[in-house]
Amino acid sequence: MMTMENETPTHAASLKDVQQRRPEVARQNAVAKDAFNPNHIEVKDYSFFYGPNQVLFDLNMAFPERHVTALIGPSGCGKSTLLRNINRMNDLIDGISHKGDVLIEGQSIYDPFLEVISLRKRIGMVFQKSNPFPKSIYENIVYSLRVAGRNRKSELDETVETSLKAAALWDEVKDRLQESAFSLSGGQMQRLCIARAIANRPEILLMDEPCSALDPIATGKIEDLIHDLKKDYTIIIVTHNMQQAARVSDKTAFLYMGQLIEYDDTEKIFMKPSEPQTEAYVSGRFG
């Protein structure tokens, strides 16, 4: 289990606050997007069970393409479970079962003709605890290419540079790519994991509390990064930090005990939520 500190949501999120602190973010949020698929990922009547325990109850929601969607809710409400089902990471666990479906661009992730590996190649994932491989920085980035059988040096070099640049890490590590990934600081490691997740150019990026183990400066860098990445990726981020959700996301879903309570534009969720439970949660009255 995670520590209490990580679990405790940081409240006091009024969008106005946030907008004052980060005007440029707010402006970008307001700019109308190019044409995009509002139903990039669709969750349909989705229920999920760990053995006999039902964890998700009849979820129905759609994640828009090239937007950031935040999943919020008290700990144990099923945010990670939902996230980890999108790339079928939960397949590793014995005794799981589900009802309903999850579609990516209309194709079911449970399609028996779809290989899990090819599904995961389309989806990058960043974990709460940064998990660099015990290899060099370079090898960490190119891992997803190598396992796909792509070993051409020029392609690998180019991928390392573009991924690290996209993860805003290039300038810090470009001179020590062959050093162990463990020589990096905590924040750098997490950005390395982000770079690794996007190295194989996925469409979707799943992030499970990517900043909960980081200090505020590192957190700020990653939030900026999420902003830059969303022009290319559909991002779903689980967070306990209300301010963070407000700062980085376009849409926010509030889950409570496995049920989707409210799902709307972030602005709406934080300014005038329609459900009293949402209101209570975002204003810190329970959690």
Partner: protein, 577 residues
């Protein structure tokens, strides 16, 4: 221990429980019990190692040769005389049952003690060691002109040189100024000639013999056929022709060896032993010689290292009691190596299946319990299994399929280094499985999930991340397996170890690695020296030295594996979160 005992006891009063009963520090006594256990264990190990190291290394130090004089009126005599000569190896209290009443009453305690001397000259005296009553010794001197000579037969000789004669009647007397240079030159010559002879006999003639043996087997095979076709007749003729060729090749080599052997006997060394008897031997019998009582500490050190080198690199002589133990060291190394090569893939694959792929449940649990129990099966049982399965079944089948011409003489159907290694591999595989499973389990879930999220398959994850990260732990298992395997003797006696093997399992003869050959092993060598040799007293130093080498071999093997492991561990140091 003593420093621990002196530690001041805590003075604070024991706290009282609620019911006012004094709370005793009940755990305290167990600190001492456990510490005692550790101390006793450590002491015993260090004592054993120290004893072996002291005795094992002491063998090689060239010690002075003493001339010992007995009382004219005492009972002690050596070959009828009052003098003897030898290396004083031991002084100890005599067994009371051997004491005469006078000795028992004697005011001199020396009368109840005895000295053991290494006399050498087993050919002259019939024994290499003897005990003498310490009380009867009146003088001990160390004459400078004593030679200690290592010989091809009869062990070492201790003597005073007299002269060198050659077959033509030329004589160099010990009083001549160039006696020593002459002897040195001759010994150098015979040593190099001996190397030549052994090269001819061991390698060239040995190779011909092996080919001859194969051809004879083939010849017999064709002869035994009930009906021979024309092709068979032709094959038989070809075999006979090749045998004739080999015979022709053999003859000049044998002649050359005979010639060299005759040269070895050209010069004779005449010497005098302590009883005054003059004896002689061909210089060709000498391996080396030196004047122990003339050596400075530096000279002794040189001899010390030379002796160690000869011991480690030489072949055994005289039923293993003399010479070196190189074949045994080599056999132990090769066997342990083959065992490791066999045990690693099997153990690691089994562990990967058990830990990564098998569905955890009652079946896997019972397999795991069975593996752990396998580690506790007595090694002799593995020996018997190896004999029955590997030697008779697998080896017998191989012989029938691939070496039918040799039958009934077995090729693989008899004990050999491959079967011995596989038997030990089977014995140690549980160790590797258990260690590997633990190492695999220790690889963090985060890394596995990270890899899967990158689109890697399960096997790719294992191959690229899990196995490298658990390599240190797997090597720990290998270290344990090698430590257990290299020191094992009992099962080997059934599956291929011999006291004296004519050939090494790896040599310059095609196909270079001879897995079917019988081999020598340090552990068995110790057993053979200590319990099977006719003169156990003479073999004792060799037993200690060989034991020391076995321990060192095991340590070297382990250290290598540990160093590799630490290197890997450093590489993946931060890999464990």
């Amino acid at each position: 221990m003593s420093t621990v005992l002196e530690e001041p006891r805590p003075v604070a009063r024991p706290p009282r429980a609620a019911n006012n009963a004094p709370v005793k520090p009940v755990g305290e006594v167990y600190v001492w019990v456990t510490a005692m256990g550790l101390a006793i264990g450590l002491f015993m190990i260090l004592f054993l190692l120290g004893l072996i190291a002291y005795n094992g290394i002491g063998v090689f130090w060239p010690r002075n040769v003493a001339v010992v004089e007995f009382r004219e009126d005492g009972p002690t005599r050596f070959m009828g005389g009052t003098r003897t000569m030898g290396v004083i190896t031991l002084e100890q209290a005599r067994d009371v049952r051997d004491l005469t009443p006078e000795q028992m009453e004697s005011p001199h305690p020396a009368n109840r003690r005895e000295k053991q001397l290494f006399l050498g000259n087993r050919d002259a005296f019939g024994q290499a060691f003897a005990f003498f009553n310490a009380g009867d010794i009146v003088d001990v001197s160390y004459p400078k002109n004593v030679i200690r000579a290592e010989r091809m037969e009869w062990g070492d000789a201790l003597f005073f040189p007299v002269r060198i004669e050659d077959s033509a009647g030329n004589v160099v007397s010990v009083d001549d100024a160039d006696f020593d240079t002459e002897l040195k030159r001759l010994v150098r010559e015979v040593v190099s000639r001996r190397t030549q002879i052994s090269r001819i006999e061991r390698h060239q003639i040995g190779r011909i013999n092996l080919q001859m043996r194969d051809l004879e087997l083939e010849e017999r095979f064709y002869q035994r056929l009930d009906e021979r076709s024309a092709a068979d007749e032709a094959a038989l003729a070809a075999v006979r022709e090749r045998m004739a060729d080999l015979q022709a090749e053999y003859q000049p080599l044998a002649d050359r060896a005979g010639e060299l052997r005759a040269k070895q006997r050209e010069h004779t060394l005449v010497y005098e032993v302590i009883t005054g008897q003059q004896r002689s031997m061909p210089v060709g019998d000498l391996v080396s010689y030196y004047y122990p009582n003339q050596l400075s500490v530096l000279g002794k050190t040189r001899h010390f290292f030379a002796h160690i080198w000869d011991f480690l690199s030489g072949h055994p002589r005289e039923a293993n009691t003399e010479g070196g133990i190189f074949p045994a060291i080599f056999g132990t190394f090769v066997m342990t190596l083959i065992m490791s090569i066999a045990v690693m893939p099997f153990g690691v694959m089994a562990a990967i299946y058990l830990r990564e792929y098998a569905k955890q449940g009652p079946l896997v649990r019972s397999v795991r319990i069975a593996i752990n129990n396998l580690a506790g099966v007595p090694s002799i049982v593995f020996g018997i299994f190896g004999l029955g399965f590997f030697v008779y079944f697998v080896g017998g089948t191989i012989d029938q399929l691939f070496y039918p011409k040799g039958l009934p003489t077995p090729t693989f159907g008899t004990g050999g280094i491959l079967w011995a290694s596989l038997t030990l591999a089977l014995m140690t595989v549980p160790v590797v499985i258990v260690a590997t499973e633990e190492a695999l389990a220790a690889v963090s879930r985060g890394i596995r999930e990270g890899s899967l999220a990158c689109g890697a398959s399960k096997w790719q994850t294992i191959q690229h991340l899990v196995l490298p990260a658990s390599a240190p732990g797997i090597l720990t298992g290998l270290v344990l397996a090698m430590a257990r395997g290299a020191g094992e003797v009992a099962p080997l006696m059934l599956v291929g170890v011999v006291a004296l093997a004519p050939n090494l399992p790896i040599d310059g003869m095609f196909p270079f690695i001879h897995l079917e050959r019988k081999f020598m092993h340090l552990g068995f060598h110790i057993y053979d020296l200590g319990f099977q040799s006719p003169d156990s007293e003479a073999a004792k130093p060799m037993v200690f030295a060989t034991t020391l080498v076995l321990i060192l071999v095991v340590i070297v093997l382990n250290l290598t594996a540990i160093m590799v492991r630490n290197h890997l561990r450093k590489k993946y140091a931060a890999g464990t979160f």
